[in-house]
């Protein structure tokens, strides 16, 4: 059974560094990805992207980590936990991985880390996710990792073109 400490993981989850700005900005400026993440940024100039990263990093009781496979090349995505309710110990988890990342398993490892951080680092009892109903891949990924579907929020998200989408609410209890 392998557990050789010299085989350090080539993937790390870290507070964003200067190396991560460009790839995170690329994700922030990707309209299709942002729509799948159900975000419609009003501005995506450098200053706005910096403000977004700063806001995420300093989200009260939440967390934001860049997913990096090589320190020199910067992030390939991010994981985040937001809207944490301290008393009830729940929050919303999300992740994004750049389509340019061709390594197998990055999304799986990122999901596992997201769940670990929610449970161990933030002490949450439950993590929730809201996913566009047409994002079958993300829904499948979440259910494979133990999320259950709570229900569908009808016409819950309006995209860039003001087209409304159903949103699936999922939860995973620890």
């Amino acid at each position: 059974m392998p557990s050789d400490p010299s085989r350090a993981s080539p993937i790390v989850f870290r507070t964003p560094t200067a190396h991560d700005f460009a790839p995170l900005a690329e994700i922030r400026r990707d309209r299709r990805m942002q729509s799948l993440l159900m975000a419609i940024p009003q501005r995506t100039d450098d200053e706005s992207v910096r403000e977004w990263i700063d806001r995420r990093v300093h989200e009260p009781h939440g967390l934001f980590r860049a997913i990096a496979t090589d320190d020199a090349q910067g992030a390939v995505g991010f994981i985040q936990i937001s809207q944490v309710h301290v008393r009830n110990r729940h929050g919303f988890g999300a992740l994004a991985v750049s389509e340019r990342c061709t390594l197998p398993g990055v999304a799986l490892l990122a999901m596992r880390e997201l769940l670990r951080l929610a449970r161990v680092e933030l002490g949450l009892a439950k993590l929730m996710a809201e996913i566009r109903a047409d994002n079958a891949m993300a829904i499948r990924m979440n259910t494979l990792l133990g999320y259950t579907i709570v229900g569908t929020l009808e016409k819950h998200f309006a995209d860039h073109d003001d087209v409304r989408h159903d949103v699936v609410l999922l939860e995973k209890t620890f």
Binding site: M1, S9, I11, T102, P104, G105, A107, L108, M137, L144
Partner: protein, 78 residues
């Protein structure tokens, strides 16, 4: 059951493959079903079949059937 058969069983379960499927075609992103979701399902099947938790390095390196057999040889206790 050989190690290769045991690994192939996980691929069969994940991608619904016939017994005589050409295993050399099983390459990440080349085989259409083997995308990030397919990979997640495959890892889950391997972990179940081998009763093991794969390390991050191994999950990231598993890019073909051949590579999977090589990696899973380290987890095979039989």
């Amino acid at each position: 059951m050989t190690l290769e058969d045991k690994v192939f069983a996980a691929f069969q379960e994940t991608f619904d493959l016939a017994e005589d499927f050409d295993r050399t075609l099983l390459v990440y992103r080349d085989y259409p079903e083997w995308d990030s979701i397919g990979h997640m399902t495959l890892v889950a099947a391997l972990e179940t079949n081998f009763d093991a938790m794969l390390e991050a390095n191994d999950i990231l390196a598993m890019s073909s059937f051949t590579k999977a057999v090589e990696i899973m040889s380290r987890y095979d206790e039989n």
